[in-house]
Assembly symmetry: C2
């Protein structure tokens, strides 16, 4: 991800080059910028505001379920990374290291956190003594680092922003409940607020978080048919409890290891929202997430503008007072230019008002999602706007759902069929999407699917649309029904 300076004039059509479309869109809509720091981006105000909305939606639900925020050191001593064997193997290759500070070499290297199980595990071992101290339910909003080889703005960057929850429980049962509770919160936020349908399910062992007993995810389909893991929740068993000696004296007067969980979601949700809803005109933002929900634009000849503004200003105030995020564009550009501009920026609803509208006590509302224009009476305008915004939110979810349905393939049973499907999709220049396939449970079969098709297992959905009987790779009896697809 090098610094790219080219000014974006036109947005490349999705069908021509989806990646190009994505980069054009986020740059033209001013969501981010490249930086001279390898793989790191600037989250510009219009991009960061999407993150602030996601934070708000998550924080509300985390707090309602008894979690509290805290902040742990970003620097992790090398010895800590070593204490959980799989964890260190998983993360070591991607770590940046601080080796000097304050003018002196350090005695022990410090990693920039890729995730915080280790430092938090250490602290929990100090804080937890008795069953009375449990559960511990803490979340952290933080920057994390993974020195990735291939990067993509929002989806995979060397530094990114996320939240990571870390909880400790007296029993496996409680910890597993927590793992599922947080997965469900992710589903709720992503489906209800971001208008992105997801599949809840379990990751296969090869895709598990490094150090977890079980990893669960929500998986979303982008408009190019590729998958994004939009949130993960891990049951960590006592792996970290053993590594960091997190023990408690239980009611039965014996010392036991706690059971821990962790769960995370990140700024890649911004990228997902763009790739699920955007189109050739640019961004399309679901009303609940959009920084601006309604853009108001005066139209008609300039000599009549004064008259229009007499109605415009009080209308703006009324809409704003109702809690709608409304913005007025009073610049000198033509209405047509402004319409394109705000469509490109993904504003869900445009309100046009001209001299004749003022006379007739009406305005025009134009939807970003369908392009539909309606004439609406000024009288019930706030209610009309609120109802349209709710409808757009719903419609965007349904469109995304229909797209996912159309690109989910349930009829592919062998590797040969999958290869044929992929090559046909490529010839027709359509997404190859996801394939619901049987899997015998053997890592080798999963690896072979990946090697031959670049399709990886997304998750084993809790509630699959069908049950598959045979392994897509070896033809033996399927133990699991799995979503396979290419992934970001």
């Amino acid at each position: 991800m090098k610094e790219e300076k080219a000014f974006v004039k036109e947005i490349t059509p999705q069908s021509e080059d989806f990646s190009r479309w994505y980069i054009d869109t986020i740059r033209k809509a001013d969501l981010m910028d490249y930086t001279p720091v390898r793989g790191c981006i600037v989250f510009k105000p219009d991009g960061f505001e999407l993150w602030e909305r996601i934070q708000e939606a998550m924080n509300k639900r985390f707090k309602e379920t008894g979690h509290r925020n805290a902040y742990f050191p970003m620097l992790i001593p090398e010895s800590f990374m070593q204490k959980e064997k799989e964890h260190v193997e998983g993360f070591n290759p991607e770590l940046p290291w601080v080796t000097e500070a304050g003018g002196e070499p350090l005695e022990e290297r410090l990693a920039l956190r890729p995730t915080s199980e280790t430092i938090i595990g250490h602290m929990y071992s100090q804080w937890i003594q008795s069953y009375r101290d449990l559960p511990v339910l803490i979340n952290q909003w933080a920057n994390v680092f993974r020195w990735e080889k291939r990067t993509m703005p929002f989806l995979r960057t060397s530094e990114f922003l996320w939240q990571e929850g870390h909880t400790a429980h007296a029993t496996e049962e409680e910890a597993r409940e927590e793992t599922m509770r947080m997965l469900e919160i992710y589903r709720e936020v992503v489906e209800q607020e971001l208008a992105i349908p997801v599949w809840k399910g379990q990751k296969t062992p090869s895709e598990r978080f490094a150090g977890a007993v079980d990893t669960y995810s929500i998986e979303a389909m982008m408009k190019d048919g590729k998958a994004v893991q939009a949130g993960t929740s891990h049951y960590l068993g006592d792996n970290f409890a053993r590594g960091f000696e997190i023990k408690f004296l239980d009611r039965d007067n014996t010392f036991k290891y706690v059971h821990t969980t962790s769960w995370g979601s990140s700024t890649r949700l911004i990228g997902s929202m763009i790739m699920v809803h955007g189109d050739d005109r640019g961004l399309a933002l679901p009303p609940r997430m959009a920084p601006t929900q309604v853009i108001m634009i005066p139209v008609g000849p300039m000599k009549l503008r004064e008259k229009v503004m007499e109605a415009f200003d009080p209308l703006f105030d009324r809409i704003k007072a109702a809690g709608v995020r409304v913005r007025a564009d009073l610049r000198e550009e033509t209405p047509g230019w402004k319409f394109n501009e705000w469509e490109m920026r993904g504003v869900p609803l445009r309100l046009e008002i001209g001299p004749r509208d003022v006379e007739n006590g009406q305005v025009i509302l134009a939807r970003r999602d369908t392009g539909e224009k309606t004439t609406v009476a000024l009288e019930g305008i706030v209610e009309s706007i609120q109802s349209l915004l709710a409808d757009i939110q719903q419609n965007m979810y349904q469109k995304a759902w229909a797209f996912r349905e159309a690109n989910s393939h349930l009829e592919i049973d062998t590797l040969e069929q999958l290869a044929a499907h992929i090559s046909k999709s490529e010839q027709q220049n359509v997404p190859s999407g996801w394939v619901l396939a049987g899997w015998c449970g053997d890592d080798a079969c999963e690896a072979k699917v990946k090697e031959e098709t670049k399709f990886t297992s997304r998750n084993i959905p809790f509630d699959p649309p069908a049950q598959k009987q045979t392994c897509i790779c070896c033809g033996r009896k399927a133990q699991h029904t799995v979503w396979f697809g290419r992934a970001y």
Copy 2:
């Protein structure tokens, strides 16, 4: 700041050892913990929640004045740090460096940001072309690093949390207005929300931010008489604009350098709040900042508890519904134990209700700030609570103000008098406080005051309580009237 494990039984009295009192209090109230990472602390949930309230109060005002949040990379290439001469000299000695990442040595070292003028300056040079692009008004919430030799929880840690505003303007006048606007916002938040009186003023050249033309600050007095710089706002002139080539084409068709500002406030505000309001019983939190504003405790014999709870629960709901941050303590401990516990945690108001209160339709409200207990009718309870909370907020500010008045010395005119004052204070075991003194403007005089007394210039207040005529050090005509004091 090493990892300290001792369990805090009693809080050391302030008069015995103020630093010890501070550490005992923040540990017993569970605001933080030490970590194995040099100079880095954990912000535990009760401490972090104070930061969340400060963030909320600041964010609201930043946004109202047209600023937007963004996020820039944490890692800063070494060459960037070099571009503003004074900046690199000021910060270089305290930087931690990343020298390896992803298993390879880096070509160029990357600093963990101590502040972001350089990386942001670079980005602004890309974003700003024309006067139409100005002003740029951006704020960032972030972690920053300064590898300090001596650390103190919240007040000075190797990693801390802060916000840093960075703005660019077409003219010096506009940039200077911005510098003052943000200083005033800091004053407002710290005085109105944190109940801490501050002096607004200008820093002397030796205390300026590295790279600034002018630095302004708000300064607060702790209960040991020492000063905390509670917020700073810098007019940077075109120093960074020249270093990073941030130029724009002005209306007059010539290229000009922008004028930039930066301003910051940090988690040290948490420490200030504790050191200004706390007492020998522990924390005392101003109602607007307190995570829990009212603690409800049922009292009286256990056999009558059921009857009390019949009134307790609906009362809790009523108070909560009114938007008061209320919490109930229904644990098995004695009321006396609970009273001490919540006083130590600084909750502004305690509500006690027993069987006789239920009969009489009343409760008892006890103030943390004065210890005063009042019997209040259940009927208008919400109004009583709201009015008491407002009164406590006001009273805490006034107490802090009176303390500052009592420990501000306007009658000291020479170094000998200052030395005598300090030694007398030490003998009497009272704070030496601050001294308002004349200063000729010569750096050497300021340095001599520091060398001989450890008093440093805090700021040149805009609105000093008196005008001093002669320099405290050399006796020549004073150019400025300055607050001097020992500082954290």
